[in-house]
C-alpha cells in the first residue's frame, strides 16, 4: 500500500467524511481547534515570556510553569484531536501541501525544543528559579518556542488557503 492509498482510505472513513462534508462537523472542529490554540499557545506564550525574563519576573519560573501547564497541555490535546480529525478529512490535499509540511516540521522542532528544556536546561532550575532573568539557555528555549509556534500558526492558516 502506498502512502497515497493509505491517505485515500483515511479520507473515506466515516469520521473523515463528517469533518469534510458536514458543515456543522467542520465548523465545530475548526472552533475547537482555535479554542485549543488559545488555551495552549495563548498560555504557553506567558511561560516563554517568563523564561525570557520579560514578564512575571517576581514569580519563580517553576511556579509559573506549574500554574500554566495544565491549561497549555489541556489545550494542546484539544488542538491535537480536532486537528487529527480535520487532517483525516483532507489527508491527500494536506500531504502534498508545502505549508502543511512546514507546520509538521515546526511542530516536531517545538517538541525537540521542549524536550531539551525539560531534560537538560530545567535540571538546574533550582539555581535560577527566582532569577528575574533566567540564563541564556532558558531564554533561548523561550524564544525558540515563540518563534516556532508563530510559524506553526502562520503555516496552518496558509495551508488552508493553498490546499484546494
Amino acid at each position: 500500500m502506498s502512502i497515497m492509498e493509505i491517505l485515500e482510505w483515511i479520507e473515506a472513513t466515516r469520521i473523515a467524511s463528517i469533518a469534510r462534508e458536514s458543515a456543522w462537523g467542520f465548523q465545530i472542529l475548526v472552533g475547537l481547534h482555535i479554542l485549543g490554540l488559545i488555551f495552549s499557545v495563548g498560555t504557553l506564550l506567558w511561560f516563554d515570556l517568563r523564561l525570557l525574563g520579560v514578564s512575571m519576573r517576581a514569580c519563580p519560573v517553576s511556579r509559573v510553569y506549574r500554574q500554566l501547564m495544565p491549561w497549555t497541555l489541556g489545550g494542546f490535546v484539544v488542538m491535537l484531536v480536532s486537528g487529527t480529525f480535520l487532517l483525516a478529512g483532507f489527508a491527500t490535499n494536506a500531504y502534498s501541501n508545502f505549508y502543511f509540511r512546514t507546520k509538521v516540521i515546526a511542530l516536531l522542532l517545538a517538541g525537540v525544543n521542549a524536550a531539551i528544556y525539560h531534560l537538560v536546561t530545567e535540571r538546574r532550575v533550582a539555581q535560577w528559579d527566582h532569577a528575574p532573568k533566567p540564563p541564556g539557555r532558558a531564554r533561548l528555549a523561550g524564544l525558540t518556542s515563540i518563534f516556532l509556534w508563530a510559524l506553526i500558526i502562520l503555516a496552518g492558516r496558509m495551508m488552508s488557503y493553498t490546499m484546494f
Binding site: A23, F26, Q27, V30, G31, H33, I34, L35, L37, I38, F39, V41, G42, T43, L45, W46, L49, V54, S55, M56, A58, C59, R63, V64, Q67, L68, W71, Y99, A150, I153, L154, A155, G156, R157, M158, M159, S160, Y161, T162
Partner: protein, 158 residues
Amino acid sequence: MLNLDSFFEWLQATGIAMTIGGSSSLTGLLSGIHLLGLTIVAGGAFVSGLRLLGVLLPDQPVSEVAAPAARAMVIGMTTSVATGLLMFSSRASAVAASEIFQLKMALLLAAVAFHFTVYLKTTRQDDAPVFRLRLSGLLGLALWFGVALAGSGFILLE
C-alpha cells in the same frame, strides 16, 4: 445604507484590495498574522482573566500578572485589526452582509470598549475590590472568547 454600500464597492476596487483578493497566498498570510494577533489577545485575556478570578497565581499581585497581559492584548488587537481590515477590503460587500461577521464586530466593539475603560484600570491596581476583580475577569473572558468563536464561525464562510 446606500452610502455604506457604495463605500464598500469603492474599497473593493482599490489597488490594495484587488491585490489581496487576487492572491490566496497573500490572503493566507494575512489570515495567519490575524490569528497570531488573536492568540495574543485571547491568551492574554485568558491568563489575566484567570488571575482576576483568583484561579491562576492567586498569591501574585494582580498588576504582576494581569497588567502585562492587558498590555500585550493591545499589541494583539492592533495586529488583528490591521490585518482584518486588509482582508475585509478585498470582499467588503459580501463580508459586511454576513450575520456572523456582524456579530463578531459587535462583540469586538464591546470587548475593546470594555478593555480600555474597565479592564486596564482594574488590572493596574492591586487593591481593587475582589468583586470588581472577579466581575472584570469574567466579562473580559466572555467577550474575548465570544470574539474568537464568532471569528472561527466566520472561517466557514471564506
